[in-house]
């Protein structure tokens, strides 16, 4: 298990004991993180599981596929600090990572 913190737009936090190999979205939903709505259940089709990360985690967050880039554009996410948590698998090295959540998911 890896400890990952999800910080809501209002500052409240949920520390999730995440299972490596499972998407960040699924880990968050299982732990009832309020700001991960995940309306489409992990289809890369709704953009309501967006997460923001700091540059030091860049390497672990990988690069989004084309359909995810479209979804992020749709939500006007600019820069490279955002991803859909349904498209990122948790890995051991994410221990201690803090992810911020957008206002529209609060």
């Amino acid at each position: 298990m890896v400890k990952i913190t999800f910080r809501e737009h209002d500052g409240s936090e949920t520390i999730v004991d995440a299972r490596p190999g499972l998407s960040l979205m699924k880990n968050a939903v299982a732990a009832n993180v309020p700001g991960i709505l995940a309306e489409c259940g992990g289809n890369c089709a709704c953009g309501t599981c967006r997460i923001y990360f700091d540059p030091e985690w860049r390497a672990l967050m990988g690069t989004p596929r084309e359909s995810e880039v479209e979804m992020l554009d749709y939500w006007h996410e600019e820069g490279d600090g955002a991803r859909l948590s349904c498209q990122v698998l948790a890995v051991e090295a994410m221990e201690g990572m803090v992810l911020r959540l957008p206002e529209s998911q609060s």
Binding site: E39, N43, C44, A45, G47, S67, E70, Y74
Partner: protein, 428 residues
């Protein structure tokens, strides 16, 4: 629609056979809600859920709740034996019943694989790119009846529109589309049919499978710019390419899944327009309201009244403890009218702030893969109908006056909708 008590003794009525409840579900849902958000029915080992938070918790928990009974409900051919491992019994049941292996009924690892094929295929962004075609098709179909001043929403508009849009989107070649048009499931043979009997093999949409097999092989050899090609190029999480059968299964399901539901969305939207004077003009003046109109219709009319989950492990939700082998009947339409979530829930209100939080597309891992498409179709349909005609009215000669309408409803405990909806209008 009147919400008055229709005079049914619900304590003595079986929701799985009663046409009166299929035709008028909301008084029944309010009767259930009066007993609590989670209520055992006392027959067929079914527990009904009407509470929003409770239902959401169940939608999100695919560990304790299996999706194996989503299409069969309690008519699942499985007699749970508490002395044998649950997973073994579920997998045995699935292996013996081919119709239980669609993406909608799959669990965990198998479901994840099917979902990997669907990943990113139907998104709001992609629907924008297909909009021009949707407008074109909507206008072509409207042209066919615009001169008559009347139409049957189900067969003259809804079915051809939904069929041609999904056929184009998936990439059914134009020469095969004529055959697609007019292909509709027999309303008495759909999953959720009252009494439990339905013959999936009789569903012409699902019989398209063989044809899709040919398309998939063709796209792998000759990629094009369509959904089928994208489905064919999707890989599993480990980078491997799914076998053609897996792609065919998902594509065929996509093709069939979005038809009866979307048709009923169109019919429900037009009933609301007809019964709310002034709404038509308001939407014409402020087209930006149309997406919220579509969602408010989805919330209040609930095309998918109910879906099911099968309890895998003993687990507690709210104050209720579920036991293995129980069938959970999730009343989506009742969750959408939970007063703890939606203020004045039975009122139709286009300005409702939290309208998008309805669960008409389900939630969690099995949430509807076609939501963005259904929303786009709903919006385009209304935009074009309102642009070309006004004064949409239910034909009173056929269906009676407002407050005393007579419709033939789908004889179904999962889907809510009408078999026919005759309407009149004035051409603009």
């Amino acid at each position: 629609m009147s919400e008055a008590d229709p005079g049914i003794d619900y304590d003595k009525t079986d929701v799985f056979t009663a046409y009166d409840i299929a035709a008028k579900p909301h008084p029944y849902f309010e009767y259930l809600r009066g007993k609590g958000p989670i209520v055992p029915l006392g027959y067929r080992n079914v527990v009904a859920v009407t509470g929003y938070d409770e239902g959401l918790a169940i939608f999100r928990d695919d560990i304790n709740f299996s999706a194996i009974n989503t299409v069969t409900g309690p008519y699942l051919p499985l007699d749970y034996d508490p002395h044998r491992p649950m997973d073994e019994q579920i997998e045995e049941c699935r292996a013996n019943n081919g119709y239980l292996s669609s993406v909608m009924s799959e669990d965990t690892a198998a479901h994840e694989k099917s979902k990997a094929i669907l990943n990113g295929i139907i998104t709001p962004a992609r629907m924008k790119a297909n909009e021009a075609y949707m407008y074109e098709v909507a206008d072509q179909i409207i042209d066919e009846f615009i001169g008559k001043g009347r139409f049957n929403v189900v067969t003259d508009f809804g079915q051809p529109f939904a069929q041609l849009v999904i056929a184009e989107l998936i990439g059914v070649p134009p020469e095969d589309r004529v055959a697609v048009r007019g292909m509709a499931a027999d309303p008495g043979q759909m999953p959720g049919n009252l009494g439990g009997g339905f013959d999936m093999s009789a569903n012409p949409l699902l019989r398209m499978g063989m044809q899709f097999y040919g398309y998939v092989l063709d796209r792998r050899a000759n990629p094009r710019d369509d959904v089928l090609t994208r489905l064919c190029e999707q890989t599993y999480d480990d980078g491997t390419l799914p076998p053609p059968e897996a792609v065919v299964a998902v594509a065929t399901f996509l093709f069939g899944a979005g038809q009866d539901t979307t048709v009923q969305l169109f019919a429900a939207m037009l009933r609301q327009l007809a019964d709310n004077p002034g709404l038509e003009d308001r939407l014409r003046a402020e087209p930006a309201l149309i997406p919220d109109f579509v969602d408010e219709v989805l919330r209040i009319e609930g095309v998918t009244k109910s879906t099911f989950r099968y309890v895998r492990n003993r687990t507690t939700v709210g104050d209720f403890t579920f036991e293995p082998g129980q069938h959970v009947m999730l009343h989506i339409s009742a969750m959408n009218r939970d007063p703890a979530k939606f203020e004045n829930p039975a009122a139709f209100d286009v300005g409702r702030k939290n309208v998008r939080q309805h669960v008409s597309f389900g939630r969690g891992l099995h949430a509807c893969a076609g939501g963005p498409l259904a929303r786009a179709e709903g919006r385009v349909a209304i935009e074009r109908l309102l642009a070309r005609a006004r004064n949409f009215r239910i034909d009173e000669g056929r269906h009676g006056p407002q407050g005393a309408r007579q419709f033939d409803f789908l004889p179904n405990y999962s889907l809510y909708g009408v078999l026919e909806q005759q309407m009149t209008f004035e051409r603009i």
